[in-house]
């Protein structure tokens, strides 16, 4: 067992984990932050994407101990005083989800895409960079639309 401490959504959190505990298991099962989903558990689907130290990672493919001392942001950390993050609002406005299972990972990846490519990111880049996030409902068109709208809103 190891003790891990990290900032999760701006708050210091710590816990006892097995060495093999995945970051997503720590977030979901110990911190009860169940917004981060496990879809495939093989780093393909992207439902588990969170930000660690400012960049997107698949939390099913990182150990909790590897995030020790780091800053973690999950989907629960985006809204501000009950107001949705511009990217969350854009998914809502553009019907960017149907069943919603992939959505937390989609939103976290989308914000990462805007952080790296700017708010005028083009459609080809959005489609290419969403390749690590799988949605089985929407056919992606409205997700891409949502990412664009969210990107514009994030840019102010």
């Amino acid at each position: 067992m190891q003790t891990v401490s990290m900032n999760v959504n701006g708050e210091p959190k710590s816990g006892e984990v097995e060495d093999r505990t995945l970051l997503v298991e720590f977030l979901r099962e110990q911190l009860r932050l169940t917004g981060t989903h496990v879809g495939c558990d093989t780093s393909q689907c992207g439902a588990c994407v969170v930000h660690v130290n400012g960049v997107s990672v698949k939390s099913c493919t990182m150990l909790a101990v590897q995030a020790d001392g780091g800053d973690v942001t999950t989907i629960e950390g985006l809204a501000n005083n009950g107001e949705l993050h511009p990217m969350q609002q854009a998914f809502k406005d553009n019907h960017g989800l149907q069943c919603g299972f992939c959505t937390p990972g989609m939103v976290m990846s989308a914000i990462d895409i805007v952080n790296r490519n700017g708010s005028d990111v083009d459609e080809a880049t959005v489609r290419k960079e969403l390749e690590g996030n799988i949605c089985r409902c929407t056919g992606y068109h409205n997700i891409v639309k949502a990412v664009h709208a969210g990107a514009k809103n994030m840019g102010g």
Binding site: D19, R20, T42, V57, T61, V65, E129
Partner: protein, 264 residues
């Protein structure tokens, strides 16, 4: 995943010390292959020694015509590096097309090369550019590093510290990627400096190799049509659900032609 004992080290010396003390230890770099492999119980090391805290293994520098990339530098860092883009753009481009963005934020060049997946991208560049692998013990030439499927020249307590890529006058990497995993079904890295052409091929055989027949044809005539007459031995090609041996042999030539065209 079976349990193991995790240890994070802050120097190469400590890493070597830890693996020597371990019963069946394994180094983890970015873990993007190793953790899935352990989850599938295809690997069950007693000790996992994390190289992620070793600062001396991180970073990119350019000295004259050589780009040195620390072993723990991520694919995202290589792809975004203006030093790499300015010196060997094909290498930055290759790194930016490995896996997906989240995988590129964790996966490292050292991990990719040490793992030597038959369909990994970096080995094609190591061979095509004639890179040198620097370890805590010695320097290994790219041609001698990859010895078989998931096998390398590395010893158990040997750690890759950096990869040194010489600049080529022109180079390009073309891959026919698996649409799901983005791994190379076949990838070809072509580099030209003066009259010398080198070709690194990945995805096609048990591990990345030099395309000597392709080099011979291209050395005399650096043009896509020079590839037409080259015979690619089908019996050495991988054959699986993604592509037959015959198809891979065909793709080797197509990817080589595209890379040659992209060089000029």
């Amino acid at each position: 995943m079976y349990n193991f004992s995790y240890q994070k080290v802050s120097s190469v010396a400590d890493a070597v010390d830890a693996i020597k003390k371990a019963d069946d230890g394994k180094f983890v770099a970015g873990g993007q292959t190793m953790l899935p492999t352990m989850k599938h119980r295809l690997a069950s090391p007693s000790d996992v020694i994390d190289l992620g805290g070793i600062d001396e293994l991180k970073g990119i520098s350019v000295d004259g015509d050589t780009v040195t990339i620390g072993a723990m530098t991520t694919h995202a860092e290589v792809a975004a590096s203006s030093d790499v883009q300015g010196t060997i753009p094909a290498l930055a481009n290759l790194a930016g097309n490995i896996g997906d963005p989240a995988v590129r934020n964790r996966g490292t060049i050292g991990g990719s090369i040490a793992n030597n997946d038959p369909a990994a991208d970096y080995p094609a560049a190591v061979i095509g550019l004639g890179a040198t692998i620097k370890t805590n013990k010695r320097e290994i030439s790219g041609d001698e590093f990859f010895t078989g499927m998931f096998e390398t020249a590395l010893e158990d307590d040997e750690v890759i510290t950096a990869v040194l890529f010489p600049k080529a006058e022109a180079s390009a990497y073309m891959k026919f990627e698996n649409p799901a995993s983005r791994y190379a079904i076949v990838g070809v890295f072509v580099a030209k400096s003066g009259d010398i052409v080198k070709v690194g091929v990945t995805g096609a055989t048990a591990c990345a190799h030099r395309g000597l027949r392709l080099e011979k044809a291209l050395n005399g005539n650096f043009a896509a049509e020079a590839v037409d007459e080259v015979e690619i031995p089908v019996e050495k090609m991988n054959s699986d659900i993604h592509a037959s041996a015959e198809y891979r042999a065909h793709l080797v030539k197509v990817m080589t032609k595209r890379a040659v065209e992209a060089c000029s």
